[in-house]
Symmetry: C2
């Protein structure tokens, strides 16, 4: 681990490549009105939830099929023009920004559920299907898909960023739940990786190489996922703690004892106040753990009892239980609304989100030191965490027009990442590298590993057209 | 999926590259007696459990450190000579054979447990540590590592082949349980992938690219793994069934209901007879399921009751239960000894093992059709299966001197693979591709995906020195 020593550059490097009018004409000829050069459309596709400001792509193609994607990429390859796949635009690290120009391929219309195989616990979807749409479709089969990033993201975007969410502590992340892919490569060819078998030792794991590659190795056009039987019983609870440390130590004990908890999420007292103000939830304004237990009725009861004992040992009290879907939704609103409640707590602000993940035994130290730093900085923030995984997010609420606030937030993020790396952790648990964490990636993994990534990228995309300038400089 | 149409070539393509005496001299100068050119040593390192016969490597280096591996690979790179990493020699698909000549690096002396972090449920080991050695070391910490291929394989070999075993249905395979690696690359550089964090979205998933790469992308010199708390309660059972179909349909129902069973293994009646003859276990000579349940005492009891009901619906009976470690060991001996019992049932024979894995709903059809074919061929065989994953192994017991028996076995394997691919399955659940399944890999994944693998290989190993000629022709 090489500690990064300077804050990340506050603006991305922009080297716009030329998009020749011949390419735009060819796209319009191929796609008609499904190729747009309207500024509003381009601007909508040239940003995400990050704070960066970059010129938009030159054109947006609305793909409706794998053949569309292959045709668009094929044309872009011919003119050596960058291609940026777009799902719903909810990524956080600048993944969608056209830092080298190029065209955006919007996959939102590729939103068909291709096949549900309840008997095999697999589903095949197009990349524009969102996680909520998928769960609606699965419900009548008694199934669900557990990965739930904050936004109602597209499955393609979730694959691209190796997303996780609140259920990862039990069900894993996209890494563990994608069985196979159809991918349009940089040359416009269509390749399949993986099968519907649950495991495989057949050659390089191209599926997992694509998952988390942030659009830099190809465009995913079909995704086969593991799904799970809806648990026979589900019970959720919220528990207040006298301190963040007590909540975190409770979490550590739960994980170390091997309780198969489905969700265990931290919301700090500041953030509970924001959520209460936003949605009048009337929660106790203390550090909270939100928990959920899945299993047979007896197993859920047993897990809940064990966790109550552990929490009581750490001063946790005021357990509030929810067993009906409606009660659970109300409880989880506190977690799911945290981001928007926080944004609204400071009108006009934007959030710079951190994403470190550390081994569970280091979680309390990592969090508490970082809270002290954030408090000392005076920057308002929210704090939530997938603490069962050792992953948490500060959202520093900055005035986007204040260079000083931005610099302060980036300096806090840098110190947090340095701390997480010292503790054998990672700079990104689930948001990805994008534009924002490229220096952190080098610090985390070393130049040699990043050079390996670059060599793979160059081998699979020799003209560097697939979402260039993300993950590493190239 | 492109169905393979011809049986795999019965002998590997051999293109021995020159190993210059200067390289051997340099290795001897560097490693002294830890570099051997004795024929017996070379022969021992030039074979595995496969049926292939190939000239041995020119020299064997016994590495004791990452620096040793880096030095040996660096010298081999200088002379552009192949390097084949060696663990315990238990692979099944010809992975260790020096089809292009070169040197073997024996990692058996790199057998230190580097660090156990019980509080984080992680362990870091050198690649020569075997799975049994690891579990011995973990036991006193109340932990275990679940992946258990038949042999007492090395963790390095298990990473290289993406191994799994009997616990994969609950705990996943090496794919899901390796957190990070130290790797010596083809140039002799040392690179780290991953951290001790449970999840990460930091750049390309080099860890999973290395896992299953069969030594073709680098030599793993340190491995960080997830480990698990020893379950509070463990109970194992054997249950006899009137037919294979009844046993398989029981398994399918268990999986589809979401019972968190830890192990569910099939042994067919023929194989039970072999095991009884070998070890006098006195088991009923019918199709068996061997099962194991992990959890709290109440959860184990509940799982066992559910499974007994399902089994009874399919005519399963004569449950025999084992709760003490000694009883469990006796029960599992039937499964673990199947390979050796089968080999001994036909003196002088060798086993050609199949390794298909299909979606669980197709398991009964895939198995039953393949059994009919095997019975019709007259070749003796054993049959065992990690049926909870849809993975099973026929071991065709052939006279290695009979070209006809070999051809018959390969023809059976071909038909089985074709069937599995038609059913959305894979040619290899856990043994890897090696020399033996290269044609099957192309049939399974298509030439485009194999070309992607080849491009990655060429980018990371431009002189093709890392275990060349495995997975794909190059």
């Amino acid at each position: 681990m090489n500690a990064p020593t300077t804050p990340h550059a506050l603006l991305p490097q922009i080297h716009q490549r030329n998009v020749p009018p011949e390419l735009v004409a060819a796209l319009k000829a191929q796609f008609g009105t499904r190729c747009s050069t309207a500024l509003a459309v381009r601007e909508q596709h040239g940003r995400d939830e990050s704070v960066f400001d970059v010129p938009p792509p030159a054109a947006v193609v609305f793909a409706e099929s794998t053949a569309d994607v292959a045709a668009a990429v094929g044309l872009a390859a011919q003119y050596r023009v960058p291609v940026i796949p777009f799902g719903v635009g909810s990524s956080l690290e600048g993944h969608l920004l056209a830092v080298q120009g190029g065209i955006s391929i919007d996959l939102g219309r590729m939103n068909q559920i291709v096949a549900i195989h309840p008997e095999d616990l697999t589903v095949t979807v197009q990349p524009g299907v969102t996680r909520k749409q998928l769960n609606e479709a699965l419900k009548s089969n008694g199934l669900f898909f557990p990965i739930d990033p904050g936004a109602d993201a597209s499955l393609g975007g979730m694959c691209a960023t190796r997303a996780s969410g609140t259920n990862a502590v039990r069900y894993g992340t996209m890494r563990e739940n994608v069985l196979g892919l159809e991918v349009v490569t940089a040359s416009g060819a269509v390749v399949r990786t993986g099968t519907r078998a649950r495991k495989s030792a057949a050659g390089y794991d191209l599926t997992r190489l694509m998952v988390g590659s942030e659009g830099t190795l190809g465009v995913m056009t079909e995704i086969t996922l593991k799904v799970y039987p809806l648990p026979e019983a589900i019970s959720a609870a919220v528990c207040s703690f006298p301190s963040i440390e007590a909540a975190v130590r409770t979490t550590i004990a739960i994980i170390q004892m091997g309780v198969p908890i489905a969700r265990v999420e931290l919301v700090d007292a500041k953030t509970v106040r924001m959520v209460n103000a936003h949605a009048k939830l009337g929660l106790r304004e203390e550090a909270l753990l939100l928990m959920e237990f899945h299993g047979s009725p007896a197993s859920v009861k047993e897990q809940a009892e064990t966790v109550q004992e552990i929490a009581a040992d750490h001063g946790g009290n005021a357990f509030e239980w929810a067993s009906t879907p409606e009660e659970r939704t109300r409880l989880w609103a506190a977690r799911h609304n945290a981001y928007f409640a926080a944004i609204q707590s400071r009108p006009g602000c934007r959030a710079i989100s951190t994403d470190t993940c550390v081994p569970i035994s280091r979680l309390a130290d990592c969090l508490l030191e970082s809270i002290d730093e954030a408090d000392a900085s005076g920057i308002p923030y929210f704090l939530v965490g997938h603490v069962g995984d050792g992953n948490f997010h500060f959202g520093y609420l900055i005035d986007p027009h204040s260079a000083q606030e931005r610099a302060t937030a980036e300096a806090l993020n840098l110190k947090l990442v340095q701390r997480a790396l010292r503790m054998d952790g990672t700079c990104s648990g689930e948001h990805g590298i994008g534009l924002h964490k490229m220096d952190f990636l080098v610090a985390e993994t070393g130049a040699g590993a990043v050079d390996m990534m670059r060599a793979i990228k160059t081998a699979l995309d020799p003209h560097n057209i697939m979402n260039p300038g993300k993950i590493f400089a190239l």
